[in-house]
Symmetry: D2
Subunit: 470 residues, 4 copies
């Protein structure tokens, strides 16, 4: 008799080519523990409802426990001839416990089985990624706390624009990741319905208790439509889209770390543990981890597109195309998870260079806005004030000065409203401290944000004892 | 003097080429009403906090009201030389009310202005799309109610698999859209923070009241980090990803409508109002609307990719690249909105062909599972029962029969457990009714699902008086 | 001393996390044979130009030969601690031949080394895929030849439109693949420049002979700019874009095979070797191979997007992001290669059902165009003729007839130009044969196309002895 | 009677919603001139072959000439009720010349008509883009010529690596664009087959002369398969993939211009004509054009994905989905064309800052490779030499020196092979000039490359009189 679950009607074996092409166990063996959990819940429910005998039920649950142990020990032999993880586990079970093993598949299909496994796996992966984001946030929180007094240029268009605190910049990264966290959480909630019992497409004739299996597997409720539960994979698109958003954020953070690591900026020195050198140029300390994270954005976005293209235009319910849903999902979670850890480590161990940042603040006319604001505060319409400031910048450039070095006389040539109190207003610390509103870079505001982040992290089970303002 | 807001430092005008390339008013004029609302909230707050005079505040609010009226009447002249919607509105305002107009821009930058406008617009667009989804759902609910007694083949691999109810199939579409609705809702919640007051990147020195503007504009709170608020657009990625998921769903529904409209299936006749013919082949009644909706999936996915590629690797905070965020967002909402309406209209007016569905149920051995289940119920291990059913199908094909036409003797040649009670079990209605568990196709289950959907829609303000089971 | 090529300046080892994250040998070991060929060419050139000694050169070449043998036998131990394929091979070489091994890297960098390896690999992969396309084309050619007399409905909008020959349809697939072939060929030509000698970014001070290494490695010439040669990967985007076009074609062919395999169409019976069954529904013979091929389109498109996102916005020259270029390229070639083979096998062994196609031709009013053409030939303006034909279709539907069954009297009620000679014109064979122009479905045209394809394939080294018209 | 071409069979008008959704004239009117050219070629051929009368043929050609004039003058009224450009032109023609106009559509379908129009348009657009690339190349050639003596740091990992010539860097951009040009040229060649005569899907019964229309429209030959010619759009994917590759190149060039424009780098000063300022920060001179070009990469990639998703899984032949092919193609060509022009203008007018580049060369240890090479030339194995150089860099950093400032004694502490001739070897000009091999940065090599580019451009019709080395 054929090994294949569906062999009854066939005269010949699938060609080796087709068998190799269509096997999935090399990929979906990663679902093995979820598959076993699902099968055990199914077997318990079947027994509890008299669909299989109690002894069959026990034998199945125990047999699966043994298989799990084998898998965890790396002793399981995955056989591509048995196609997928489901058939491998079931065949192994039947070898162990005999006919009872074959009864496990009563009132079930591989279609609802794999849909259940993927939801279990992906739900866990969401929470695992959330934990990694929180770890990243705790690094940001700590580093922001440590550098709350370090000023740096804030940029727009990669032009020095206005001074901010380094902590304010690090907290901006934190805001981005906090939203990524929220998206993964929402995705995990939305996928939290149990497909088990949906059968191949139209449920089953057995009087199964779907609420019981859903409950045992930690789902909020059974999926409400068997065609939809076996035929849709939108929950994977949602999760991977959240990961893509996160990957884009990580690419932006990485871009900044690469910039800051350059000799031109010099704002950060990555630790040796998180940089590499060059085989040809001994002076290089390359920010490779940040570059790799930035580059890996591509594969996360690629995985998202893979899933979408895969689903486009498929009729209901299950189609074999759906077998292709696993690798992009596994790879996207692996990639973002590893990127989060590596980048958090890199930031945790990096040395920020306050001196270089301070030097950068001296040049670049970051105080020009202050001049415009100064004039506006004296009643000059803002657009006019802006023009005056612009002309002063041009004047300073022509004479090789910074704005602070212009004389009051020179200033008054452009506009009569200037007074000696201007100069105090142009100190970076003053500039930053005057921006003392919600979301602004003033110390009090940044402190509030650090404390809020710390308190969120504590509520999530983290401990940040050092983050305590005097 | 130059029209440009930033003209002060420049010796020469941007070349015509660059001006044409960088103007955005042809696109972002669509934000005009949001821009005006944001500006009015800002002006009221400035006046309330004594940053501008009360009379300036009033003049601004009133002037903007007049401009809104002009825009709504289509009388506004949008001038590309004024770059964008913000400068066009402000220039128009200043022409109307003089110097007070120039004071509107106090304590504000185009960077926080456009971030605020985009959030207002996109939040509204999410709720508008949600309303269209609900409209679609109400069509599905009604049509499912009308066809609760119509049986059809359920498919996997586009092979007839097991009988289901047409209503069950329509409700599967409803489940898909219900989740799309949830994603848009979550996206709208997450973007519900007000960037106004974040300035160019580092807030402002003016003692503005960010909570007040946030409140007036209906936001849950001010955004908490000025660099993030002006430099990130992940909320657009999230919203468009939700739309892409929805578009994929619509492509799947459309694929089925195209299939069902074929002569081969013949399950549906689209109304004349939602089909077109051929210039060369007079017999054609093409399901063009479904095809167009399916085709338009591409542009929604394209918009998602556009946004992601745009954001990848950008350093903080605002970069001019972000100007390119608007068209993909506008186009994605327009496309999905129109697709929802057209497809709902097409389904609402389509004639489903119960006869053709019934004919399709007679052939295709959709009762083969019943035979396997029948044997399993008699204690035959499921995989064995499955093999028996497979052999019977092969036998029936060889003799040109359907399973119902095999004799008891023939059946028993394959397995001794068969009895005369088998034949009653093979009627499609019986098959469907035996699948009477949560999420299954039995009438009672489908009724529950229709009523649940109806009640959700009623709770959202819809009226479905006809959907009432006897 | 550290194993790392760049260890000189570092005080501490990269963290295990970073090492795991940044190692690439698990992926790029696939370049090993290309790496060895490149290194041997480099060593020979170095020796020929006196940069290393002849004996060093010989030792290197021989040592690499031995390593190749180890690799081919699967005996090579790839060590992640040695980062990548280049360092693994070089370390192994140095262990074997001592100091001479360390001299191999003279006048070379990993940056030009990997760029060379990737071009060698991808160029070969292009030609390998071309061979698979040709194999596919030879299947199409043979099957078209066998079925030149089988008529089937041609479809637009998935509506039966006009009769064509099955061979004509199969040849349409051939045209699509022929263009894919051309794209891969062009890509292979354009990437046919040798980066070796470009160094890390700025060539090398050694007086190497780049023309010699280019020649030995089969490249048309050395790459002309060292920054470009080490920093760009557009040749990968081009090759994978060609593969994506091909994958889309395969998805379209697969879609048709899935449709044709349905009970509704019944145009094809896939062989048992290329279908699978259902674990729950014993009657199913699922077109899984076609579904999988269709589904795998997603990952090829995903790989294309991965590469593009990866490259977007990178400054020159080499950045570590580029390490991520390999998996999408390997996967795209593997996927398309396997899909071509499996789909060719499926088509080669499929049974086309001429009877079902003939039945489909009888219904669906595929002769309606003939009526319009008939009238146009009698001088009725085409658009009017079209309207008459449309009204006749409507009339036939109302009376449950096909057009052939309308009486001359009925026809003349719609237009007086009809005559008895109309009826002969409505036979499908007649309809097809009247379309006897270049690119049309008439037998003579299809024969010409089959012969042209056969002759192209023969010129490419294939033998198709049976494809010979009497 | 209805305006619709296909109205004969319909009882009711398409709903306004559906009409709005399915009209395409707002987009495809851009094909009007191609449509007219195709129609004129078709009419001439019909008349030449006696399918329509000579006088009808003349009337059609003349009528279409008049319509072209109207269109060129902007006087054409495009009516959405007439669906598309084809019906608009034909209806306008029939209004002008009566019944003869209706005969134009003999032996033609909108399916082959639009396929022909799109090929004509896209082929022209490819050559138009090629011309813009050549224009860009001529700017690069000129600027490289002007700056052949300017040295700058070459970067890897955004770390200063080795000195190169600015001209070498500009020429690297040129190599990238040269390949983009080749791809567009190949795409234009491959699409150069004429679909006209393929009818709706199965050619036509009229004895048309497809070779004649192909020839008149400048195509290499008629398309060889009517199903393929009307149902495939792979030529658009190929063209837009070439544009995406080009857009990625432009994003990389833009990234560098943004970097170089920063105060940190200071390598370039964009001209006022190609920068803008800030509404809030008067000192800003933002590299907006480069940022916009970088941002617009997204939409080109999005267009590529749009097309691919659109085509995925479509059965042959024409499906209405294909109507959606136009906007992504138009937008991709428009975007890349404008980006090429703007970026060429920006580079043409930019001031490169040789002083800043020279300052950057002094720091960053770009001469470290020389030390390694120096030792290697003295027989030290390269990897060892590399380690010595690395240690010297570490030593220099610790003592706050550059390598040049280390004493011979200090050098010899690390390795005895150092001699006084080392110091001359560390001058940037020397370093660059020693890299005098094909593709390297030495002046002679760069000169060869500039001359080769100049000569290619001259062969393409450009005049670069100033680019002449003494």
């Amino acid at each position: 008799m054929s090994d294949k679950a569906w062999g009854g009607r066939f005269d010949q074996e699938p060609s080796a080519l087709a068998a190799q092409f269509s096997q999935s166990v090399s990929v979906d063996q990663r679902l093995a523990l979820q598959d076993i959990r699902g099968s055990q819940a199914h077997a318990r429910m079947l027994a509890a409802n008299g669909i299989i005998s109690a002894s069959d039920g026990n034998a199945i649950v125990q047999g699966l426990d043994e298989i799990r142990t084998r898998i965890e020990r790396g002793e399981m032999k995955w056989d591509p001839a048995r196609e997928d993880v489901h058939m491998n586990v079931e065949a192994e079970l039947t070898e162990r416990i005999g006919a009872a093993g074959a009864r496990l598949h009563t009132a079930r299909s591989r279609n609802d089985q794999v849909a259940t496994d993927m939801r279990l796996w992906t739900r866990e992966a969401c929470f695992d990624t959330i934990a990694k984001i929180d770890q990243f946030l705790s690094v940001l929180c700590t580093r922001a706390f440590e550098h709350v007094d370090v000023l740096m240029p804030g940029y727009t268009h990669l032009q020095r624009a206005q001074p901010v605190r380094l902590a304010h910049h690090l907290l901006a990264w934190g805001e981005m990741l906090e939203r990524d966290r929220g998206r993964l959480y929402d995705a995990a909630q939305r996928m939290n319905e149990c497909p088990l019992g949906s059968g191949a497409l139209a449920a089953t004739t057995f009087a199964i208790d779907r609420a019981a299996t859903a409950r045992e597997l930690g789902f909020a409720r059974p999926a409400q439509n068997s065609l939809d539960a076996t035929g849709d994979r939108d929950f994977l698109v949602e999760a991977v889209a959240a990961l893509a958003n996160c990957a884009v954020h990580l690419s932006r953070i990485s871009e900044e770390l690469v910039l800051w690591s350059s000799q031109e900026f010099g704002f950060v020195q990555m630790s040796d543990a998180f940089t590499t050198g060059s085989s040809m140029m001994p002076q290089k300390k390359n920010p490779d981890m940040a570059e790799l994270v930035r580059g890996k954005t591509g594969r996360v976005v690629g995985s998202l597109v893979t899933l979408i293209v895969l689903l486009k235009g498929l009729p209901l319910a299950y189609n074999r195309d759906l077998q292709e849903d696993k690798e992009p999902v596994f790879d996207a979670f692996d990639t973002v998870g590893a990127s989060l850890r590596v980048l958090a480590g890199a930031i945790d161990t990096a040395a920020f260079k306050a001196d270089a940042m301070r030097r950068a603040l001296r040049e670049g006319f970051l105080d020009a806005t202050e001049i415009a604001d100064y004039l506006a505060a004296k009643g000059v319409p803002f657009r006019d004030a802006h023009h005056v400031a612009g002309r002063l910048v041009a004047r300073a450039i022509r004479s090789g000065k910074v704005l602070m070095e212009l004389t009051l006389a020179e200033l008054r040539e452009e506009n009569g409203a200037f007074d000696a109190d201007l100069f105090a207003a142009l100190d970076p610390e003053t500039i930053v401290e005057r921006r003392n509103i919600v979301g602004g870079p003033a110390r009090a505001q940044v402190r509030l944000q650090i404390e809020a982040l710390r308190d969120r992290l504590i509520a999530r089970g983290f401990s940040l004892p050092g983050v305590e303002f005097a």
